[in-house]
């Protein structure tokens, strides 16, 4: 799982560079996010613009990352593609995360 990071003051932006977070990649994604989240920024935003597909294992991994941030920090999501947005909507997990249409200015465009 390739992840690219950028910091904007108190915001850590992590972009998933693979086109899927699925059962075959979920554990690796979670472990890499764990080490990236050692960074001290209080806001962590996951840019999912390149992720065309996420299954329930991928969803579980995103929730796990939210939890390992601890109670003081929250995971925010940005730029969900249609199928990924559908998984969050159907499972109602879209009520748990702050979801942004796009990442804030500065991060190079995904496309």
């Amino acid at each position: 799982m390739d992840l690219a990071t950028e910091t904007q003051d108190d915001l850590l932006i992590v972009r998933a560079m693979e086109d899927r977070i699925d059962a075959a990649g979920a554990i690796q994604f979670k472990e890499q996010m764990r080490s990236i989240c050692q960074n001290p920024q209080s806001r962590v935003m996951l840019d999912l613009s390149r992720v065309a597909f996420l299954d329930s294992s991928g969803l579980g991994a995103v929730v796990a990352v939210m939890k390992l941030l601890g109670p003081g920090r929250r995971l925010e999501l940005a730029a969900l593609t249609p199928t990924v947005a559908k998984v969050f909507r159907l499972t109602r997990m879209d009520t748990v995360f702050t979801i942004h249409d796009s990442v804030p200015n500065g991060f190079p465009s995904a496309v």
Partner: protein
């Protein structure tokens, strides 16, 4: 393995395809790419393709994880399109479903931070997105069958 041949399935018309899949997450990922690239999926809208990939991923990964677990195993996926429906038949020779029936697929309880659910979404998604969902255990094999509405 002796899963029923696709010619045994009671479809008179339409197009079909059969896929043999080894019971590992990476093999499932590769199989899904093959399925999505197959001509049987070419008429589907982007949205219907996404839904099909999601439901098939959940069904196949459940078999890898729960029916075979750490055992090696083989999965057969049969697809058949008739009109506005894509029929999916999945066969494996792993453990039967708990209590021999389809898991309920309950909605997860969305608690506070530490209580957020990390799993258990699979059967809820399958039930929500399919029609004609059937499970049968026959001759020490699991047969899961469902249809996807591929109209729109």
């Amino acid at each position: 393995m002796a899963f029923p041949a696709p010619s045994d399935t009671p479809y008179a018309t339409g197009t079909g395809a059969v896929f043999q899949i080894t019971s590992t997450p990476l093999a499932v990922r590769r199989a899904l790419r093959e399925v999505l690239d197959h001509s049987i999926m070419s008429g589907l809208s982007k949205d219907a393709r996404g839904t099909a990939e999601l439901v098939l991923a959940e069904a196949l990964n459940n078999i890898v994880e729960h029916a075979y677990g750490t055992d090696d195993g083989q999965i057969e996926l049969q697809l058949h399109q008739t009109g506005s429906r894509l029929s999916c038949d999945v066969f494996d020779a792993g453990m039967p479903m708990p209590e021999g029936e389809l898991p309920a697929g309950l909605a997860q309880i969305i608690g506070e931070h530490d209580d957020l659910p990390e799993g258990g979404f699979g059967w809820y998604l399958i039930r929500t997105l399919t029609e004609d969902l059937t499970y049968r255990r026959i001759d020490a094999r699991n047969h899961l069958s469902f249809k996807l509405n591929i109209e729109q």
